[in-house]
């Protein structure tokens, strides 16, 4: 086979290998760049904690303190936490195209919608969970209120009960959920 023939075979293989290497782990969403919202919001939260940073953060938690110990329980098994949240001082129309790019990723069979709520105050919250072989490996929350827009993506083995244990700690609100929910 000629050198050109070898190259023709090698290039697609390399491209496939690169794609596999760059592929997002299950449960992780490709979040769009919400730069346009940053300038218009009065408060923005942009958190990207990959497994390395989560490990680093966990190493700065003190297991002898109850609050930190509960957080360590939640974080163990997680591989990433990604939060984009924007608060506005007036009702603000969100870029629906960006939100749609996120929603398009949240489709069965990888993702299942757990909750979809629409309140009278125009608060819409969608909660999705990614399940693989009966184990939750991703959680996504899309919340849109008239003056706040939030996307949360938690990657890894998620135990909502452990998250529930965090209520009342670090300013986490009381969820008032019965145990086990």
């Amino acid at each position: 086979m000629s050198a050109r023939g070898h190259l023709a075979m090698l290039v697609p293989t390399l491209v496939l290998a690169a794609r596999l290497a760059c592929a997002e782990p299950p449960g992780q969403l490709l979040l769009p760049n919400f730069d346009s919202l940053t300038g218009k919001s009065i408060q923005s939260v942009n958190i990207t904690l990959d497994s390395t940073l989560l490990g680093l953060a966990a190493s700065f938690l003190d297991s002898s303190k109850p609050d930190d110990a509960a957080t360590m329980q939640v974080v163990s098994g997680l591989r990433g936490i990604y939060v984009r949240s924007y608060t506005f001082n007036k009702d603000f129309p969100y870029p629906t195209a960006d939100v749609e790019t996120v929603r398009r990723q949240l489709v069965p069979p990888a993702w299942q919608r757990l909750v979809q709520v629409h309140s009278k105050e125009q608060a819409n919250v969608d909660i999705y969970i990614s399940v693989d072989h009966g184990r939750a490996n991703g959680l996504a929350i899309i919340s849109s209120e008239p003056r706040q827009f939030t996307i949360v993506n938690i990657v890894g083995s998620i135990d909502l009960k452990k998250l529930h244990q965090l209520e009342g700690k670090f300013g986490v609100p009381k969820l008032q959920l019965p145990d086990g929910q």
Partner: protein, 114 residues
């Protein structure tokens, strides 16, 4: 013809006495070398030759310590920032779960009331 070649080869390769001169030169060179002080692998402690290597070693040690300290400081800063972000992320997540719960609860109350 071949006898001539043999003769000339023999003449060229015949043993030659080096003479008295060579022996004398070799013995003089050996004597001169043994009269030199023996060279050790390293100068003794306190020798001026140690000054530069010591200074370089001390500077390298200081630079190494400063780098390690700076790295540790940066790691601590990054760790504390990651911890703050983790707690904030969990707060936001809990707030949104709480919002969903409240809305579901309100809807259930409305349906039960009506």
């Amino acid at each position: 013809m071949s006898n001539d070649l043999d003769e000339s080869l023999r003449a060229a390769l015949r043993p030659v006495d080096p003479g008295e001169d060579l022996t004398r030169k070799v013995l003089a060179a050996v004597e001169q070398d043994s009269s030199r002080p023996p060279r050790g692998p390293l100068p003794p402690p306190g020798h001026p030759g140690w000054r530069w290597p010591s200074a370089v070693l001390a500077i390298a040690l200081l630079v190494g310590l400063a780098t390690a300290y700076h790295w540790q400081l940066r790691r601590q800063e990054r760790g504390l920032e990651a911890r703050r972000q983790l707690i904030e992320a969990l707060q936001v997540t809990s707030e949104k779960l709480d919002l969903a719960y409240r809305v579901v609860n309100e809807q259930e109350h409305t349906e039960n009331g009506s």
